[in-house]
């Protein structure tokens, strides 16, 4: 006799929920610990470590850690730097990468296949492998300086520019746009060309409006990468002026034994990403599932 179908389904469902719950606990508990610790004094953090209290808002709870971090760490300036770098990188990246993908996916030109192949190859080269040669390059690039009148300076080091320009053109973004644009029926382009449109008008009036989700996805992925940048600014931004938030956190952590403040700093650094996730959750999940890329 076969077992009842619905009981088997119920057992499967319970098992599925149990596994999902386990993963939720594994992924959420560090964030919960960080958040709760950010409201607690140093001693209590250590005394709570051996119990469930570490994840609960119990004991001596206050915003003192946040007051101390905001008052003394320069977090405001670093956050502004990170926001500026992220916004400019994302805006410029969306434009540049989508245009490149449009040329690859929708226009016919000699050498297109080779360029696409090179872009795919670039996908597998990590920043760590090219960071030093890149640093040597940017160290000798010219830029306009405004201190003491307009002048040309021969180094991009220690600027916001050096944290933006190398990351605007992004192989992954181009490839992501390329795949999305390739799926749009060519009849749309051809109808527009017959109607008198130029390639840029086809891009502007047809392709871009039909790719809203793709643009949002790329914005999220490139924005997260820009916000979380750490290795590159550590190499090229030695002083505080153009320092981004993540490097600021590391510096703060280096000279700090007040773990409550460290956790408060980390919470503040995570907050914009968390809010962005809540706001763009649908696209974010789509992007991670669609691209197979770690979030």
């Amino acid at each position: 006799m076969k077992p009842p179908l619905n009981s088997k389904t119920a057992a499967q469902r319970i098992a599925t929920y149990a596994i999902v719950l386990l993963f939720v606990v594994i992924f959420v508990s560090p964030f919960l610990f960080m958040l709760m610790a950010s409201f607690k004094p140093n001693q209590q953090i250590f005394s709570d470590l051996s119990s469930i209290r570490a994840f609960l808002p119990v004991g001596s709870i206050s915003l003192q850690n946040y007051r101390d971090v905001i008052g003394s760490s320069g977090i405001g300036r670093f956050a502004l730097n990170s926001a500026f770098i992220t916004i400019v990188t994302v805006c410029a990246g969306l434009f540049v990468n989508s245009l490149a993908a449009f040329a690859l996916a929708r226009l016919e030109w000699r050498g297109k296949g080779m360029v696409l192949g090179l872009i795919v190859v670039l996908l597998i080269i990590p920043l760590e492998a090219i960071a030093v040669p890149m640093m040597l390059m940017v160290a000798y690039l010219p830029t306009l300086g405004f201190e003491g009148g307009l002048s040309i300076q021969w180094s991009w080091l220690d600027t916001r520019l050096v944290q933006i320009v190398p990351f605007v053109a992004n192989a992954f973004s181009i490839f992501f746009f390329y795949q999305a644009f390739s799926d749009i029926p060519r009849d749309f382009d051809e109808a527009a060309y017959v109607d008198g449109a130029t390639p840029f008008q086809v891009y502007r009036h047809v392709i871009v409006p039909l790719s809203g989700t793709t643009f949002a996805t790329v914005a999220i992925i490139q924005g997260l990468a820009a916000w979380n940048q750490y290795l590159w600014p550590v190499i090229v931004v030695p002083s505080e002026g153009a320092r981004p938030l993540m490097v600021g956190l590391q510096q703060f952590f280096r000279f700090q034994t007040e773990w409550g403040e460290v956790m408060a700093y980390a919470t503040l650094a995570t907050l914009p990403v968390f809010l962005a996730f809540i706001f763009f959750q649908r696209w974010f999940v789509q992007s991670v599932m669609g691209s197979g890329v770690k979030g």
């Binding site: 009849d187 109808a191 527009a192 017959v194 008198g196 409006p209």
Partner: protein
């Protein structure tokens, strides 16, 4: 102003594969030309070459005598309706129709006026704020037509525009396209694989097969005097029946042709003397059913199609394929019964070994 379109020995290939093998065609201003042929014959490629969406390998395309090979689609003053309609899903009906005018920077007042005119002609005014996804197939088709006529192009190009519609809507849209052509009098090049569309819409039909023109002419001329076996078989539903035969001599009644399957010999008047294999072609409406022993051909009824107005019996008589015979709508012909098929040789078509009509009609 409608344009004259001329194709002079136009050729096109993709890689090793030659798609268009030297097409010559002169389309007069205001003429409605239908390119028809089986899938893969190159008719859509030819249309796209006229539009400028495909380059021409060799040969020349001329509009009003001027070569346009190097002109971009927009510079040819053509309007095109795609098989998929290609309506922009993010735009409303009004925005879709106005798109070409917006690109051409026509000022807002004139743009509005011209769009209103087109929407009015196509009875789309009530749907101006709808998006394509909210429209039926016929409405989408009308928007696609509206988008192509709003620029007042000299030449309209239609690429199988009705193939996605159901039968009833297809008949309705066919009438609308015909009415629109009579009203606007533009030059039209229309691609279809549907011979009914071709027969009902065209001033002249161009039958293509494997990238070559088989015959050009008015619909009835092609139907009644096909240049070859391909054209004869392509036009007409059900298809013309073909019987393998042999020319056996020439007498006072004309060429004597013996049907291989039945051994019956028929006289074909007006044919010259010849010997060897030929094919007899006979339309369903030119055949009659009779007793098996009285027919030029005898065989079993394989299938009976009752269409209401007509009934067609398909008789397996030893030919290349069953021979279709039109019988009265109310006549009962049981499938599986043995019948004879008789026909008037004067209504038959005779093809030589290579499929060319005897005597050949000029293309």
């Amino acid at each position: 102003m409608p344009s004259q379109v001329e194709l002079c020995d136009v050729q096109k290939g993709f890689g090793e594969r030659q798609i268009i093998k030297g097409v010559n065609l002169l389309i007069q201003p205001s003429e409605f030309i239908v390119l028809v042929g089986p899938s893969g014959c190159g008719k859509s490629t030819l249309l796209r070459m006229i539009a400028g969406l495909e380059s021409v390998d060799t040969g020349e395309i001329r509009f009003d005598g001027a070569p346009v090979n190097d002109r971009r689609p927009a510079e040819r003053n053509v309007g095109m309706v795609f098989q998929s309609y290609a309506l922009y899903p993010h735009m409303t009906v009004e925005e879709n129709v106005a798109f070409a005018l917006k690109i051409a920077r026509v000022d807002a007042a004139e743009r509005r006026q011209r769009v209103d005119e087109v929407l009015d002609v196509l009875q789309l005014s009530a749907l101006r704020n709808s998006r394509p996804s909210q429209l039926s197939g016929g409405q989408r088709q009308r928007v696609a037509i509206g988008r192509s006529i709003v620029r007042k192009p000299a030449v309209f190009l239609f690429d199988e525009p009705l193939s996605n519609l159901d039968t009833a809507l297809r008949v309705q849209m066919r009438l609308e396209i015909s009415r629109l052509h009579h009203r606007l009098r533009n030059t039209v090049v229309y691609v279809t694989h549907d011979q009914v569309e071709a027969m009902t819409l065209a001033d002249r039909i161009v039958v293509l097969e494997a990238g070559t023109v088989q015959q050009i002419g008015p619909p009835l001329e092609l139907y009644e005097r096909p240049a070859n076996k391909f054209v004869a078989g392509f036009l007409g539903t059900p298809q013309m029946g073909f019987l393998a035969a042999e020319a056996v001599g020439h007498g006072a009644d004309g060429l004597s042709v013996r049907i291989c399957a039945s051994g019956v010999t028929l006289p074909f008047r007006g044919q010259g003397s010849r010997q060897g294999n030929v094919t007899i072609g006979i339309r369903p409406e030119d055949c009659t059913l009779c007793a098996p022993e009285q027919g030029h051909l005898a065989g079993e009824v394989l299938q009976v199609e009752r269409l209401g107005s007509d009934t067609f019996a398909f008789v397996e008589g030893g030919g290349e394929a069953p021979v279709a015979v039109r019988v009265g709508a109310d006549r009962d012909v049981p499938a599986g019964s043995r019948v004879g098929v008789t026909f008037d040789p004067a209504r038959c078509h005779l093809f030589d070994d290579s499929g060319v009509t005897l005597p050949p009609h000029t293309a």
